[in-house]
Amino acid sequence: MTAKISVKNLNVSYGDYVVMSGISFDVQQGEVFLVIGRSGCGKSSLLKYLMGLRSVDSGTIFYDGKDITSEVAHDFYGKKIGVLYQSGALWSSMTLAENVALPLEMYTPLDKDEINEIATLKLSLVGLKGFENFYPSQISGGMKKRAGLARAIALDPEILFFDEPSAGLDPLSAKRLDDLIIELRESFGMTIVVVTHELASIFAIGTRAIYLDIDTKTATALGSPRELLETSRDKNVMAFLTRGTKEIE
């Protein structure tokens, strides 16, 4: 079976500074794939390369077997992928409903009423019914993230990317977002890629995870979070997954 996303030998550096080296992995259809590692190891950067927002020095990225490294297809953004950014990245000059409606206006033949209905529906799915006419500056950080998620799923993309979804959220809001991720995967069958370093989220939502090592800038472990915790012989992986409480000699 062709992997949904396939990354082969990705290398990036800025001058002498190596950002990542020899990263390879596959993401299968319908899984919640995690990119984990310490702060500064290049998780968010990897996400940007996966989304085609930055160009890589060498290596290849395939989506459904098609190489997108040098050029992405016209319908790649919006229809193929949706993204929830760390801050929500809502467009501040628009209401929440307008934020969700914009991609629909651009990419669907629907009339204005239908677009508004769908925008309301998407906001309801993330628990923001009634907040359609609020501006991003009027809502909390957790709500911004949920509104960002509603916008990310506006066009029912096949793949969803999350950049540190629980960062800056209280435990309950973070749990709520984790539950939403699981629901989206189960209900829509979406493939989900999440960048995170929140241990609670890692074990709650992850099907498989790749660990990026901050020292070597390589991927040093790949497997389900539980598997990594129980079988990994890499001391950095173990220290990360146990918050440094368990060390391998």
Partner: protein
């Protein structure tokens, strides 16, 4: 009791540093030199024991003092025993003396040779040119798409920007233009009155405002006001990932951010320039009436006779072009912005400076062009 650090040499080969008194950042710590000289002078000592004796109070000043002692010992390869200090101090000393891991090493700037420095400068210059060419390419494609009716420019966004760059700019444009007209008239009336040609103040102010000062002053004001606002708004959107979000939602940055701003400013600048010219003429008239015997009717008649339709169109053409320059530079600088608050400030400053330079340069070129065309 004041802070005291005393170095004593005991009978064995271990020296002892006794810490006592009250250590505070608000008071001077004891001189390190005495301890340092003592440690360095004795070649025979193999280690240092540091102990607290009647230590009343302490803060970071003590830790800082002890770290310096530890570093001296480290450089002399002496063993140090801090077991005689309170637990809290021992823990803080441990933290302070931990070596940074490889993370720092990999991020440290390596010493650059002149060749490496040149290489870095060239690669930055190349990247800037690449961004510039890419931006102009995308903007041209955006224009082409727009005129084919396929661009997704949102009417509401466009109207909001038009309101922002036109109506809201009128008061400041009016004030500055009035004062500029007033100043030109005041200076010229003094000279012209000497040989009885004060009436020609109206000609001078009228032509200067219509052909040059109206456009330039409006351009400078709009660079500082609108160009800076464009760069700051778009730069902040870059910092907040909103620009990336546009791209990953499949919306063109050019359609959504650049085209509405360029259209809005290019279309409104000619009107602002004309407005500025008229207000400048009004300012000149006020000064002339105040300083000479000219009447309003005389001044207006003289102005109308002095200004030709060419002067009017020169102002309009220049105004539109300046608007295009300011908006393009503002958007470019905003999109080039880095990912920190400081970068937004730099982008804004750069937008203003570049816009003003570009306007003055363009004005000089227009002057040569119109002169050679006889306009």
């Amino acid at each position: 009791m004041a802070a005291v650090a005393e170095l004593k040499f005991t009978s064995g080969n271990v020296a002892q540093v006794t810490i006592s008194g009250s250590w505070s950042l608000r008071e001077k710590s004891p001189h390190l030199k005495r301890c340092e000289d003592g440690i360095r002078s004795k070649a025979s000592i193999g280690g240092i024991a540091i102990r607290a004796d009647n230590l009343e109070a302490w803060d970071s000043s003590l830790i800082n003092f002890l770290v310096k002692i530890l570093k001296i010992c480290e450089s002399k390869k002496l063993k140090v025993d801090v077991g005689g200090m309170p637990n809290g101090i021992q823990k803080l000393l441990n933290l302070a003396m931990i070596q940074t891991d490889g993370e720092l090493e990999s991020r440290e700037e390596k010493t650059k040779t002149p060749l490496m420095f040149l290489q870095t400068c060239l690669s930055i210059a190349f990247l800037r040119w690449k961004n510039l060419v890419q931006f102009f390419g995308e903007t041209c494609i955006g224009f082409a798409t727009f005129f084919r009716g396929k661009a997704h420019v949102r009417a509401r966004e466009f109207l909001v920007i038009v309101q922002e760059v036109s109506v809201k700019a009128l008061p400041i444009v009016a004030l500055i233009s009035f004062l500029v007209g007033l100043i030109i008239a005041f200076i010229s009336v003094l000279q012209l009155a000497q040989f009885g040609a004060a009436i020609y103040v109206a000609d001078l102010v009228g032509i200067a405002m219509m052909r040059e000062m109206g456009c330039i002053m409006t351009g400078v004001i709009m660079s500082g006001r609108t160009g800076a606002a464009f760069a700051a708004t778009i730069g902040t959107m870059v910092v907040n990932d909103e620009v990336d979000a546009l791209k990953t939602t499949g919306i063109s940055n050019t359609d959504f951010l650049v085209l509405p701003r360029i259209f809005a400013l290019t279309l409104t600048m000619p009107f602002l320039c004309m407005f500025s010219s008229f207000i400048g003429i009004l300012g000149g008239m006020c000064a002339s009436i105040f300083k000479t015997d000219l009447t309003i009717i005389q001044y207006c008649t003289q102005t109308v006779n002095a200004i030709y339709i060419n002067d009017f169109f020169v102002g309009i053409v220049k105004g539109g072009f300046f608007g295009l320059l300011i908006a393009t530079i503002g958007c470019l600088k905003g999109l080039e912005c880095g990912h920190s608050a400081e970068d937004v400030g730099l982008a804004t400053t750069s937008a203003v400076v570049t816009s003003i330079t570009a306007i003055i340069t363009a004005d000089a070129m227009f002057a040569m062009l119109f002169s050679s065309l006889g306009v």
